[in-house]
């Protein structure tokens, strides 16, 4: 569980260039972490690659926050 969160956090920090402590459970990629809509597409692509999963477009749209991403990936694995 925490392993997934750590890996997701690492991707978010690297991709968006934000401080690690800003990436909290409820942090919204767009509203809190400065992502634009293309960044969110790229984050989803990076998650797919890191975890070897497929995230369909309609599911990707529901992934708004760091917590959403961790929850989705835990469910998909």
């Amino acid at each position: 569980m925490s392993d997934v969160a750590d890996r997701v956090r690492k991707i978010v920090v690297e991709h968006l260039g934000v401080e690690e402590d800003k990436v909290t459970e409820t942090a919204s990629f767009i509203d809190d972490l400065g992502a634009d809509s293309l960044d969110t597409v790229e984050l989803v692509m990076a998650f797919e690659e890191e975890f070897g999963i497929e995230i369909p477009d309609d599911a990707a749209e529901t992934i708004q926050t760091f917590g959403d991403a961790v929850k989705f990936i835990n469910g998909a694995q």
Partner: protein
């Protein structure tokens, strides 16, 4: 200048006059090319002529599943798709009042919708590599209109609007999306015109002649090159001055 060594290119309509010339120009600049089209024999012949760095990937662009599968086939064959040239196009001319839904939709499907599908299919890889070139072959007719070609003109104008929109979205990722709009070019498509039609057209071309496929290919080569990195969302008109846009 215009060195495409190490770049992998997917070209649709490569069995046609303009597509073949584009393939030769990009291959000549060092690119690996995947040649797509409906007719296998001319594709095989072109690949044989090019020699190394040429793959044949037949595809019927009116078959959505086949179109969606093409970018992956190209990436599997070459390792990636760095440059996409949407060149394939069909005409089903008729005066507008007689134009059937089928004539309309088949042209839109092949010329515009398949272009959209292929752009979608290659853009993910381009985003990852932070480099990509999409060149969509539009037409002068998309800008000026042409009697008997409401469907064709709509598809070619649609390409321009779509290309600009995609260009906006992906510009920050090192991907450019542009159009080349040929005027009257000597190809099988224009060979069908009779002498009277040709004379009528030439009277409107300041250059006084039809263009060559190689002159379209040169424009595509430029827009595919690293040197054109700052050119995006534009349409390069290659028409001998027929329409100065």
């Amino acid at each position: 200048m215009f060195d495409l060594s190490g770049k992998n290119v997917l070209i649709t309509g490569a069995s046609g006059g303009i597509g073949g010339a584009i393939a030769k120009a990009l291959h000549g600049a060092g690119a690996t090319v995947a040649l797509s089209g409906t007719r296998v024999e001319p594709l095989e012949a072109l690949a044989a002529e090019l020699g190394d760095r040429a793959h044949v990937l037949p595809c019927n662009l009116s078959d959505a599943d086949a179109v969606n599968a093409l970018p992956k086939q190209a990436a599997d064959a070459m390792g990636s798709v760095d440059v996409l040239v949407n060149n394939a196009g069909i005409t089903r001319d008729n005066i507008f009042m007689r134009m059937s839904d089928e004539e309309w939709s088949s042209v839109l499907e092949v010329n515009l919708t398949s272009t959209m599908r292929l752009c979608k299919g290659v853009i993910r890889g381009m985003m990852k590599s932070r480099w990509g070139r999409i060149v969509n072959i539009s037409s002068i007719v998309g800008a000026t209109g042409n009697p008997g070609q409401a469907n064709y003109a709509a598809s070619k104008a649609g390409m321009v609007g779509m290309s600009k929109s995609i260009a906006y979205e992906v510009a920050s990722r090192g991907i450019t999306v542009n159009c080349v709009a040929p005027g009257f070019i000597t190809t099988a498509m224009t060979d069908k015109l009779n002498d009277e039609q040709k004379a009528g057209i030439l009277s409107q071309v300041p250059a006084g002649r039809m263009g060559d496929a190689e002159e379209i290919a040169a424009a595509v080569l430029y827009l595919s090159s690293p040197e054109a990195a700052y050119v995006t969302g534009t349409t390069l008109h290659v028409n001998g001055g027929m329409a100065m846009l």
